[in-house]
Amino acid sequence: MMITNIEIVPGKRITKHMGLVQGSSVRAKHVGRDIMAGLKNIFGGELKGYTELLQDSREEAVKRMVAQAEAVGANAVLNVRFSTSSIAAGAAELFAYGTAVTLEDM
């Protein structure tokens, strides 16, 4: 499965379009991390716990997107985009979407 955010892959040809595939993941942070974040808000610096949390959720979203693409029989997802939105206090939605296609060597 090839995942890229460019529209034309060099050396390959699109033989079939399968339409949009998407995956999302909603995560909340746990209290321990909130307390650490509160401290960091005084001293400044990177919030490593949050960085990892968001990275994990994004990987989860991509995984779901890939599962959907595999279900429709695609072998690549082109033009992938990410989007983040906070839907409630302390929870965030990470969203990934792209176009599922079948690629063939030229």
Partner: protein, 151 residues
């Protein structure tokens, strides 16, 4: 009186640690940017049409950076008179450059030669008691072009 003492202590702690963290971070950013200069990150949407087949892979880099107490206090003052909030500008600058570096590092480990179609996504993920921006998340992503093993 105690409140004022706590406030001043927090301000001093924020100033001291925040400044130290920022200087250290900038030093490491500049050093790593030099090391990863061999790997250009390009904002062009499509790579040049090369006949050789190559592999593409999505690479991402993200970072969450928090502002310190002193900077937040300065920005509150700035809100009264208006104008540039330099303390937040350096925060965002640090976050963006760090995100690009992490993305490049990931591409470098895959053996990529270039990264195309860089996109940024910025979100404020934590809000303080008075709905101020506490920290920002920056995500940088792009497509790493890896020359095929066979060719």
């Amino acid at each position: 009186m105690i409140d004022l003492g706590v406030f001043l202590t927090l301000l001093a702690l924020g100033y001291g640690f925040g400044r130290y963290a920022e200087l250290k971070h900038y030093k490491s950013i500049i050093q790593r940017e030099k090391e990863l200069n061999i790997l250009p990150a390009i904002a062009a949407r499509t790579p040049p049409m090369i006949s050789k087949a190559c592999d593409c892979n999505l690479v991402t880099g993200n970072v969450v950076i928090s502002v310190d107490y002193f900077k937040r206090f300065i920005s509150v003052l700035r809100n009264i008179v208006g104008g540039r909030i330099t303390s937040y500008e350096t925060l965002i600058d640090r976050a963006r450059r760090e995100a690009i570096l992490r993305m490049k590092q990931q591409a470098h480990e895959m053996g990529a030669k270039q990264v195309f179609n860089i996109k940024f996504e910025t979100a404020s993920i934590y809000k303080g008691k008075r709905q101020q921006v506490g920290s920002v998340e920056v995500l940088a992503y792009g497509t790493a072009i890896i020359p095929s093993q066979g060719g």
